[in-house]
Subunit: 212 residues, 2 copies
DNA sequence: ACGCCTATTGCGCATTCGTCCAATAAGGCT
DNA sequence: AGCCTTATTGGACGAATGCGCAATAGGCGT
């Protein structure tokens, strides 16, 4: 393999790792698989990542961090809390392919056995929690939302979204994604005390990138 | 180890497997671990279960079925829909040790790659869904619950409970179990249109006038 | 009491894993 | 050109895995 800039190499390794993880799952990913996917040797992987645990944690942090960044950007692009909340749900519902969501399930499952993964997962969860909490708080302060306990509401919304993701990934053909998405929206509407349908997708307002 | 009736031995192996799975997770369970837990040899395990996959699948089917049976029994023991709903939440919140819940996460994660697990997981999910749906329907018919879409409500409740389970298992020290449990109860109360506190687990049926 | 069936043992085999390391090659610098 | 840093290789190593198998022992029918 051609010599490469260290930063680019690290990046390439992460991408190759994610490709394998999507196919085999976190628990089924080996160093040799990643090396083969990249077309290099296994030793090179360890030259850049001290342990397999660290590599998997960084790969997960990468894909999860991208998701979070996308949502943060989508929220920042809106002004009213209602539009921001809708942006969060839109981003969540159209977030990548089903294989990408499988990574989350794997991460939660493997967190108990991989310390670094658990640490990353926890950090990201807290950031989601904070994003939603501040969003709800501004909505309450401006009088658009009616929420008695902001933290509790933020947590419940996260639980609903995680539950949606779980059902769609694990039991794909029992529940359609669109249906789950709609039901999640109704739950959130009730949670923040706005009228039904307020959060329905793209109501007179189209998101800039419509393709997936 | 003393010679044992084949049926009893198979049962003992399943129980030992579950004990190990609760501690190490599905992916981290080995034949030797099960044998050690049982106090026998690894060869014995293979004498009764042809492969490790078969053993794990049967063990999961067993524990998941037990959980469901326990909830069904708890529901049957109550008469009013409100008490039944409370029974479901009680059973869910006190279902075994936190380590036992790790099994569900593992199962969901591996479902995508192991057809037997996915099939079993799907069946159980549908049974939970049906249990909740009929429970809610009778509550609506008797006028105690106010629910516009029973199926949607049942699904949302399941999503909340799964989300609760997920957070507690994956991020144990970020959120306390009691707190998550309380928040889930509040969500369910809102979902079925009953006053706050109605589902608080307490032996004495308090009048639904207490606040949070 | 004897013999047969099989539950049970304990080790070995082949494989695969993460990790490590000495050797090699590539490319920038003087 | 020569050198020197380091990206890259490819295999070795030890541990751990699922599984197979020959040997052992416990107990029931006769």
């Amino acid at each position: 393999m051609a010599r490469m800039n260290p930063d680019d190499r690290r990046e390439a390794i992460i991408e190759a790792t994610l490709e394998v993880v999507r196919r085999r799952g976190i628990g089924g990913t080996t160093v040799r698989d990643v090396a083969a996917e990249l077309g290099t040797s296994s030793g090179l992987i360890h030259h850049y990542y001290a342990s397999m645990d660290e590599l998997l944690a960084q790969a997960f942090a990468r894909v999860a961090g991208d998701d979070l960044d996308a949502v943060v950007a989508a929220v920042r692009a809106e002004v009213t809390p209602l539009d921001q909340l809708r942006a969060v749900l839109d981003a969540y519902s159209r977030s990548e392919d089903p294989d990408g969501m499988q990574v989350w399930l794997d991460a939660w499952s493997e967190a108990a056995r991989r310390p670094e993964l658990q640490q990353r997962s926890r950090e990201l969860n807290e950031q989601w929690q904070q994003l939603l909490s501040t969003l709800l708080r501004t909505g309450v302060e401006s009088g658009q939302f009616v929420v008695t306990d902001v933290d509790a509401a933020a947590w419940r919304i996260l639980a609903i979204l995680d539950g949606l993701l779980l059902q769609v990934v694990a039991h794909a053909d029992v529940i359609t994604r669109a249906q789950a998405d709609q039901w999640a929206r109704e739950a959130v509407e009730r949670e923040v005390g706005i009228s039904a349908g307020s959060l329905t997708q793209s109501e007179g307002r189209m998101s800039p990138s419509s393709n997936a």
